[in-house]
């Protein structure tokens, strides 16, 4: 234990006295954190949409309901609404319009108001009938039939009684944010439908209590992923390079000639990296807290996951560094593994934005599960779904430790 403790201290001093190592370990993630935080500090997203309201009366003016719908769109902070004349050829408009930016168009069809009214009446009738059936068992059948008949006289006409109004959303094929805008529009239409039914207080609603109650922002979202990333970089790039360097310059041979055992050397490296990972995570949380007011606090399980990640990735680094004697080649190999993993694992963006086959690739990467697990623990505060990250990093740690022992040239001749 004395030997391991000594080596851990030595490895720490050696790291601390290297400006490059300290920079890449500490300043690099903080710089990333600052950049991403500033980029996303401008509040919510904003989109311009063009609305063509075809639902006009004989006087050429929009019907009340369609006008109300357009106004409600304009009141939404997410949208800037610009109008296109009804009857305008959209293809020609798209060619001739001088508007800059993406041309997203919402088309409100002719008959929109009538369809909404009809659909709304049908829905209300169904609610009334259902209510009568449920609340008053004493109403006799003839009374009930009379009520139904009465309601039927105020129902929609027979031709288009329950056909919903089809609002069309047109967007250029290269519009990357189209799916996001469509999602917002769908949410907006759902709210409009509720209002059309006279439901001011929706009976069911999604609340985002966890996020909103803790005032989480972009930095909170990125922080767990950056912690996972820095653990990866330290393990796969720094440790790989350092171990290869120790092997090639003779430092390791000097240690091998002492009574120190190989497992102690590997353990010392892993412990140093694990403690370093915790220190770096702590510094990042502190900086994020002081500079950006983040509220995420790593709990015991988050700390355990960071430790497990540090063990897995530093053991991988020792394996790679032992395998390749040349420090430069080892660094290149570490970069070749770490950087694709960083960009493909959804650290910087959601993997749902990537092609499906790349999403499959991402899910095969330990970093993906590492930062997903950390985000669940740190942002959502839930343990749901973190068993898999723990299992993957645990298996990775055991596998890479076994490999590190196996591939090292260090031989303990007496076992």
């Amino acid at each position: 234990m004395r030997r391991i403790r000594t080596l851990v201290v030595v490895l720490f001093k050696n790291w601390l006295r290297s400006r490059e190592a300290v920079f890449f370990s500490l300043a690099f993630p903080i710089i990333l954190l600052v950049i991403f935080s500033l980029v996303f500090a401008g509040g919510s997203a904003h989109f311009t949409i063009f609305v063509q309201n075809e639902d006009v009366g004989a006087d050429g003016r929009p019907t009340n309901l369609s006008a109300t719908f357009v106004e409600s769109l304009a009141e939404n902070d997410v949208f800037t609404v610009k109008r296109i004349d009804p009857g305008q050829n959209l293809s020609q408009w798209a060619r001739e319009s001088r508007s800059s930016g993406t041309k997203r168009v919402v088309v409100i069809p002719d008959g929109f108001a009538e369809q909404v009214r009809n659909g709304s009446a049908e829905a209300r009738k169904a609610v009334i009938i259902d209510t009568i059936d449920r609340v008053d068992a004493d109403i006799n059948d003839s009374t009930r039939a009379s009520i139904r008949q009465g309601l039927g006289r105020h129902g929609p006409n027979a031709t288009n009684s329950t056909v919903p109004a089809e609002i069309t959303f047109l967007t250029p094929s290269d519009d990357e944010t189209g799916p996001a805008v469509r999602g917002i529009l769908e949410s907006h239409v759902a709210t409009f439908n509720e209002r059309a039914l006279g439901v001011d207080q929706p009976p069911a609603a999604i609340t985002t209590g966890t996020m909103n109650s803790r005032n989480l922002g972009a930095v909170d979202y990125y922080l767990p992923a950056f912690i996972a990333t820095i653990v990866l970089i330290n393990g796969v790039i720094s440790v790989t390079s350092e171990v290869a360097s120790f092997e090639s310059d003779g430092t390791l041979k000097r240690l091998v000639a002492t009574p120190l055992r190989k497992r102690d050397w590997i353990l010392a490296n892993v412990i140093q990296q694990s403690v370093l990972a915790l220190v770096l995570a702590g510094v990042m949380v502190l900086v994020a807290h002081l500079a950006f007011g983040v509220t995420v606090i790593p709990g015991p399980l988050s700390i355990a996951l960071v430790l497990l990640g540090a063990i897995a990735f530093s053991a991988l680094g020792i394996t790679l560094g032992s395998f390749i004697d040349d420090a430069d080649a080892a660094t290149s190999l570490g970069n070749a593994i770490a950087f694709p993993m960083m960009f493909l694992s959804g650290v910087f963006w959601e993997i749902s934005l990537m092609p499906e086959y790349l999403q499959t690739v991402a899910e095969l990467m330990p970093l993906y599960h590492f930062h997903r697990g950390l985000r669940r623990l740190m942002i959502l505060g839930t343990t749901d779904g973190v068993a898999l990250p723990f299992a993957i990093l645990g298996v990775g740690a055991a596998t890479f430790l076994a490999l590190a022992v196996r591939v090292s040239e260090w031989q303990d001749l007496d076992g």
Partner: protein
């Protein structure tokens, strides 16, 4: 504590094979306490492989070796407690100071010496707080020796300890090794510098292509294989430059073939004639009288050349046994 005559290292038929290549081929020797033992040979002779087996860094293919009575294979950890090692092309943590590096080495052992005492002993206390990476080659080498000595080893292995050092640093390292030997530590020195062997070693083993050609005290080796006297013929600082055996330059304008004549004279009288690594023509003689006669004849032929009668050394031993000299880079000529 072993007495001076006791072997601290015993090697019997030690062999190391890498596939079809035999790096060390059944070598046997003993190293006694209090002696400096040199393993001498050109690059690739198997010196480093041999000592690395004794340092428990490589496992032998066959044969056996013990250090302080402990088998290097089965009791490696115990053996390591008794040895100090300065590997070839030694390096350690560059960003740690001299004292921190020596302290690191000390803490790898259960017993040992005080760090500052070792720094004093090796005259590097002045640089104790200097980072290892900032030191000169000579001071780095002394730090390496300090790291190896701090465990108070019975046997100290120095693998090519002066390779790459300038002459001043080399001499300084030699003085440190001499001091160690006087303190009672057995020193195992691997080197291809023959003058280093003559300067430091009590006994030496000549290793060529994995096999030991001879092992004995340096004096006995020189007596037996080096001849008593050697005559060195050189042309000032430029050496004897008639290396291809053709006629030397006709500097005196007489038209005589001086180079051939000198070499022929030497070959007629000497037991061995060769060129050393600086191009000098060297003749070995079994007795001083014959050598002096040859000296007179060569002097008459080549008055303007530098001619020197000197005692034979390890270089001559090596040449006699191997048939070729070793250059400064350790390659056979």
């Amino acid at each position: 504590m072993a007495s001076a005559a006791d072997p601290v290292v015993e090697v019997t038929d030690l062999t190391k094979e890498y596939g079809s290549v035999t790096a060390v081929d059944g070598v046997s020797f003993e190293i006694r306490a209090d002696e400096v033992f040199a393993l001498v040979g050109p690059n690739g002779a198997g010196k480093t492989t041999t000592v690395e087996m004794l340092e428990c860094l490589r496992s032998p293919t066959s044969g056996s070796a013990t250090v302080m009575g402990h088998a290097v294979l089965e009791e490696a950890r115990t053996v390591k407690e008794h040895i100090g090692v300065v590997p070839q092309a030694f390096d350690t943590f560059d960003r740690l100071t001299v004292r921190e590096n020596v302290a690191l080495a000390r803490r790898m052992y259960d017993d040992g010496l005080a760090v500052d005492d070792v720094l004093d002993q090796l005259d590097i206390a002045e640089w104790a707080d200097t980072r290892f990476g900032s030191l000169s080659g000579g001071l780095q080498q002394r730090t390496g020796i300090a790291m190896a000595l701090v465990s108070d080893p019975a046997v100290l292995f120095l693998d090519e300890p002066t390779t790459g050092l300038d002459p001043a640093a080399r001499r300084s390292t030699w003085r440190q090794i001499e001091r160690l030997a006087n303190l009672g530590t057995a020193v195992v020195l691997t080197t291809h510098y023959m003058e280093e062997v003559e300067e430091l070693a009590d006994r030496a083993a000549l290793l060529v292509e994995g096999s030991i050609e001879a092992v004995d005290s340096v004096d006995a080796l020189v007596d037996r294989y080096g001849g008593d006297v050697k005559l060195v013929v050189s042309r000032g600082g430029d050496g004897y430059d008639d290396e291809d055996g053709d006629a030397a330059e006709d500097e005196d304008g007489t038209g005589t073939d001086d180079g051939d004549a000198v070499e022929a004279t030497l070959r007629a009288a000497a037991t061995e004639v060769y060129r050393d690594d600086t191009g000098n023509l060297v003749g070995l003689f079994d007795d001083r009288e014959t050598a002096q006669e040859a000296f007179g004849r060569v002097h008459r032929l080549e008055g303007n050349r530098s001619i020197q009668l000197t005692t034979a050394g390890m270089e001559d031993v090596f040449l006699r046994l191997v048939g070729a000299a070793v250059d400064r880079q350790g390659e056979l000529q």
